[in-house]
């Protein structure tokens, strides 16, 4: 469903992505590994459509993702390095707005998602008062609520304790069980069943 074909991308002078091609199939998690600066974040942002490859294309459901960008985005949930939260709003309010602009969402759904990611206890505090790990749990609830087929996760386990990392594994597992696709950039390997994994190491010429 997701096809990346011959993608070249330069950041300034650096040839970061050199002719990358791979497929993302439903029920599989594409794991991007590589050193710092290898291009994991760049690739994820390129798939999301935030960056434009100089050469090559990203295809979604057989059509170029750029051509049907808005439709592609409705099926996509993106989580970057920093959890996208407004510090002055509570977790609940944040989710109500960030998901609300995509689709109608009920309070019950928000509560359920926050409970699933273990963020219910601090869901009504202003997010600037939360720790980095707590913020990430709220952001993960947002990913859940997006009801997206494709998850693009850039280092999803950052700042999470052991429980949190298990949570990420579980969430990814559940997404794959729903026939969703996950593309995740990680520093250390994610212990997922081998048949669900497609490993891609970046940074080798």
């Amino acid at each position: 469903m997701l096809t990346v074909q011959g993608v070249h991308l330069w950041r300034g002078d650096r040839h970061v992505l050199r002719g990358l091609s791979f497929e993302g199939q439903p029920g599989k998690c594409v794991l991007l590994t590589g050193k710092n600066g290898a291009g994991k974040t760049t690739l994820i942002r390129a798939i999301a459509g935030l960056l434009d490859p100089e050469e090559g294309q990203v295809f979604w459901r057989g059509a170029p993702a750029r051509a049907r960008r808005d439709e592609f985005h409705t099926e996509l949930a993106y989580l970057g390095h920093e959890p996208p939260l407004k510090g002055d709003l509570s977790a609940r309010e944040n989710l109500r707005y960030s998901i609300g602009i995509r689709r109608s969402v009920t309070t019950a759904e928000i509560d359920a998602a926050l409970t699933r990611t273990g963020a219910n206890a601090f869901a009504d505090r202003a997010t600037r008062m939360l720790s980095a790990g707590q913020k990430r749990r709220v952001a993960l609830a947002g990913v859940l609520l997006a009801n997206a087929v494709l998850w693009l996760l850039d280092e999803p386990t950052t700042n999470l304790d052991a429980d949190g990392q298990q949570l990420v594994r579980d969430l990814i597992g559940e997404q794959l069980a729903r026939e969703g696709i996950v593309v995740a950039a990680v520093h250390h390997s994610l212990a997922l069943p081998a048949e669900q994994l497609v490993a891609l190491e970046l940074g080798q010429s």
Binding site: W10, R11, G12, D13, D52
Partner: protein
């Protein structure tokens, strides 16, 4: 098919570089010829203006530089738009090369305008609408160059300044209209319209020739700057190494 080849060549840096290298001397040469002829025609051959006497001869430098400052901004915006829509690196390089040239033409227009103003109005600056609009145009150029300089990533700088150039070019007629409207509200009795005095053909042909001369000069300078831009942008490419060898 032939048109597509032409379009592809236009987008390819080595081809454009070669084209620029070959044609710069021609443009420069013809520009120099035309300038000499126009200067002779304007300063020597053309008769005195009935009102302004010899002072009107300033028009031969002032008017072409003013027209060109505007024409270059438009060219810059078109090149930037082409670069944005069709994602052509060469177009972005051309837009970047245009900007300093256009800014200098604007400065020249302002300078010659002020020098003309002294004999005409007794003062170097009287907020004449055309000169005021030129001043705002200069600020538009500064904004464009400032934005380019302020963004680190070159590709981002290209695209952002392209948006600015397009927005600017849409704004230019509005700015001109508003400045002229403003000036007309406070019309003083003795405002002498800077610009064309009644011109018969003897006076007109050097002006048109001078415009052509400056336009050719602009193309020559643009081609030189474009070559430098292309070399800088593509410095890691193989064709550059071959060219410089």
């Amino acid at each position: 098919m032939a048109t597509w080849t032409w379009f592809h060549r236009l987008a390819s840096p080595p081809h454009v570089y070669a084209f620029a290298r070959r044609w710069t001397p021609w443009f420069g040469g013809f520009a120099a010829l035309a300038m000499c002829a126009a200067l002779y025609g304007g300063l020597v051959l053309a008769p005195e203006d009935y009102q302004q006497k010899d002072a009107f001869r300033m028009v031969y430098v002032h008017a072409p530089t003013a027209w060109l400052s505007l024409m270059i901004y438009t060219t810059m915006a078109v090149a930037a738009a082409v670069g944005l829509i069709w994602r052509m690196k060469v177009a972005h390089a051309a837009a970047a090369a245009c900007a300093p040239v256009g800014a200098w033409f604007t400065v020249a227009a302002l300078g010659t305008g002020m020098l003309w103003g002294k004999p005409m109005w007794g003062a170097y600056w009287v907020w004449d609408p055309r000169l005021t609009a030129e001043l705002v145009l200069l600020f538009l150029y500064f904004g464009y160059m400032g934005l380019r300089a302020g963004i680190e990533d070159p590709a981002k700088a290209d695209k952002a300044s392209a948006v600015l150039a397009v927005v600017g070019v849409i704004n230019v007629p509005i700015i001109k209209f508003s400045v002229e409207w403003w000036n007309s509200l406070h019309q003083t009795a003795t405002v002498m319209q800077m610009g064309k005095p009644k011109m018969d053909f003897d006076m007109l042909w050097p002006l048109l020739l001078m415009f052509l001369a400056f336009a050719l000069y602009f193309v020559a300078v643009l081609l030189i700057r474009l070559r430098a831009e292309l070399l800088r942008r593509e410095r890691n490419a193989s064709w550059v190494r071959e060219v410089l060898a």
